[in-house]
């Protein structure tokens, strides 16, 4: 009776097999009736023996003949009994060797026969069952229906049914019986049937039901709309979120095709469907109508459920309502576009007047030189230098903004060679300065070369600037390790700064030095930090006044 681990299909197959065996058995029963009927139905040896006895009185010959006859008849009878014995033996073996219980009931429902399997089956001894009404063993809740079925079977309605019976130890056994009326000649004497233990199958069904019910609960708890379609595209299930999001009720949807694909999304949806059918996992963005024709932006995930034979059984689609996200993205896109145009205006329109101020100040100096004294000329020079400082500030801010907005293009970047060309540019600009560049060769990273050039440019501009008051200087670029992480550094032996203020170092417009000492806009290190952050790295500095500064960064 070990049915553990069997599938529903296997159980059904076993049941079919059982039916076949029952049919065989029934024909055996019929054969048995026929066999036992022969000697009783035919002339009885005792009856035939009577004329033999009369003949004995007539003569020895006749007596001998009669004896022979009796012998023959006895022999015949023995043979018939042997045949009967064989047939009974076959029947018994057949019945007792199958795992299912064979039984017969009389018209009152009392057991007239039960196969000994019942001992294994429910631990009753055969003798404890015979003569007992069947309802003694049936679970009270199932009694009405079983009684009804019993009457129907007697009336000729053959239908298998399932109910629960008690084993001897009080435990419940799920059984399935299949029975037919039992006739003796034209007289209905009861019924005979087969009973199978289906407890394991019932348990499996209950487990399945439970897991299905768990699954439903889970699907209903899901915040995203979920719909299950049959192979024809009709809805077989929608979860609560689906009902809530789209506005149709379960009843409106079940068994229908949902009319919610906007015409412009039909092609895309069809293509996604075809890919789903090829069992590719799909995530696609599309749009769907709600019941009140509101358009939702959704992300759909689809999957196909196959049965054991690999046939398409159902398709599951999970929607994620991304309408709000899409709106936010659109707002962000607009905000970015506005920022672009703002930057453009700053770049173009703010610089133009500065060029005018600078140009016309110079024109004044050149054209009206004789009308200006030394003081007047100094004032105009200051106007020009302030104008140019503002121009530089605008340029630096634009760069900072560009660095933030720029798309990252990660590629193999040769830092050493970038540094060499930056050093060459600095030397060309001020060829008289004594600066020794020490550049570690062959340092390549995976990063955005354009941004890294701006980063290194800023650090070297600083190193160059802050070593400007020393007669000779050394600026170094190399690689080291900090806490197991590859770290690059730019080191100078210039003015340095007080580490007490290092916290403010990377903020925009933060300056460590007076403009009169070292000019600057205070944007360069903010730009450096943004570039490092965009590479998911870290940047920090170590410095000492008049001993130099070292800037470290990881990428």
């Amino acid at each position: 009776m070990n049915q553990q681990g069997k599938t529903k299909e296997q159980l059904i197959e076993e049941l079919r097999e059982l039916h076949r065996r029952t049919a065989v058995l029934e024909s055996c029963l019929a054969a048995l009736n026929h066999d036992t009927g022969l000697p009783t139905g035919g002339p009885s040896p005792r009856e035939t023996g009577a004329p033999g006895a009369q003949a004995r009185m007539r003569g020895t010959t006749e007596l001998a003949e009669a004896n022979g006859l009796v012998k023959a008849e006895t022999e015949e009878r023995k043979q018939a009994e042997t045949a009967l014995g064989l047939s009974e033996e076959t029947y018994r073996r057949l019945v007792e060797n199958i795992n299912d219980v064979i039984f017969s009931l009389d018209v009152q429902g009392r057991f007239t026969y039960i196969s000994p399997v019942i001992e294994r089956f429910a631990h009753y001894d055969v003798s404890e069952v015979i003569g007992q009404p069947f309802y003694r063993f049936v679970h009270p809740d199932d009694l009405d229906i079983v009684w009804e079925k019993f009457k129907q079977t007697l009336a000729g309605n053959l239908e298998a049914h399932e109910f629960r019976v008690f084993a001897k130890d009080g435990s419940l056994i799920h059984v399935r019986t299949s029975s037919r009326p039992l006739w003796e000649g034209s007289r209905l004497v009861g019924l005979t049937g087969v009973m199978a233990d289906i407890t394991e199958r019932k348990k499996a069904e209950e487990a399945l039901w439970e897991s299905e019910s768990n699954l439903r609960t889970l699907m209903d708890l899901m915040p995203d709309p979920l719909v299950v379609y049959d192979p024809q595209g009709c809805v077989t299930y929608v979860n609560d979120a689906f009902v809530k999001t789209y506005g149709w009720s379960q009843d409106e949807l079940l068994g229908t095709r949902i009319d919610f694909v906007p015409p412009e999304e039909a092609e895309k949806t069809r293509a996604a469907w075809e890919r789903t059918m090829r069992r590719e996992p799909i995530l696609f963005e599309t749009r769907r109508f709600t019941k009140d024709r509101k358009l939702l932006d959704i992300e759909a995930t689809t999957a196909v459920l196959l049965d054991q034979q690999g046939n398409h059984q159902a398709s599951i689609v999970i929607h994620r309502d991304v309408t709000d996200r899409k709106r936010a993205e659109e707002r962000l896109r607009k905000a970015n576009a506005e920022l672009e145009s703002f930057s453009y205006s700053v770049s173009h329109d703010l610089r133009a007047p500065l060029r005018g101020i600078d140009g016309w100040s110079l024109a004044l100096l050149e054209d009206c030189a004789d009308q200006l004294d030394e003081r007047g000329r100094k004032h105009l020079e200051r106007v020009r230098s302030e104008t140019q400082r503002m121009g530089k500030l605008i340029d630096d801010l634009l760069e900072l903004s560009r660095v933030t907005r720029a798309d990252m293009r990660r590629e193999e970047a040769d830092l050493s060679s970038l540094v060499r060309s930056i050093a060459a540019r600095l030397k060309d600009a001020e060829p008289d300065r004594q600066v020794d560049f020490v550049i570690q060769p062959g340092l390549t990273v995976h990063g955005d070369a354009r941004l890294l050039e701006i980063l290194l440019g800023n650090l070297f501009d600083n190193a160059w600037k802050f070593t400007g008051k020393h007669a000779s200087a050394r600026i170094e670029f190399g690689r080291t390790e900090t806490e197991g992480q590859t770290t690059y550094f730019v080191r100078d032996d210039g003015a340095g700064f007080d580490m007490a203020y290092a916290r403010k170092l990377f903020g925009a417009f933060q300056r460590m030095h007076k403009t009169s000492e070292f000019p600057g806009t205070g944007v360069g290190l903010a730009t450096v930090q943004r570039i490092v952050h965009r590479h998911d790295g870290r940047v920090w500095a170590e410095a000492e006044v008049e001993k130099g500064a070292t800037f470290y960064f990881t990428l």
């Binding site: 930057s343 453009y344 770049s347 173009h348 329109d349 610089r351 133009a352 007047p353 500065l354 060029r355 005018g356 600078d358 140009g359 016309w360 110079l362 024109a363 020009r384 104008t387 140019q388 503002m390 121009g391 340029d395 634009l398 560009r402």
Partner: protein
């Protein structure tokens, strides 16, 4: 036939004045014709509107084109210049305040011969104009006329 005229397309009077001044200082003697927006520039080049019947036969030697202009912007002017058989080979130098990558890329894509960002420092600006004049008006062989 090519004249020695330089067409400056620029709407800012201060920049027009400074450009004229830079040309004078660089001793570039060519006549400087100023168009104050894109439409005026097109009118001049194709002899339309105010310039109907006057400018069409004498193309300038060089066009200095700002990008941000009233009515028709600089990129559109450039597109129309390159799209017309009469002007498609005309040397066009973009002279603008914008240093935006996108402006540069679009200008070159549309066939600008050169792109110069006007520096704030007039000394640098004058230097740029001087070199510009020297290169396009003296060193460079002008395109053949058909």
């Amino acid at each position: 036939m090519q004249s020695k005229v330089i067409l400056l397309v620029e709407d800012n009077p201060s920049d027009i004045g400074l450009t004229q001044r830079a040309f004078e200082q660089a001793r570039i003697g060519n006549e400087l014709v100023v168009a104050q927006d894109g439409q005026e520039a097109l009118d001049y080049l194709f002899g339309m509107g105010e310039w109907a019947g006057k400018g069409a036969t004498a193309l300038p030697a060089l066009v200095l084109l700002d990008l941000k202009l009233p009515r028709v912007d600089g990129l559109e002017v450039l597109k129309r210049i390159r799209g017309d058989a009469r002007t498609k080979r005309l040397p066009v130098v973009i002279l603008t305040s914008s240093g935006e990558q996108q402006d540069m890329a679009e200008s070159y894509d549309l066939g600008a011969n050169s792109y110069i960002r006007k520096p704030v420092d007039f000394v640098q600006f004058a230097g740029a104009v001087r070199q510009l004049g020297l290169y396009w008006l003296v060193l460079n062989e002008p395109p053949p006329t058909e």
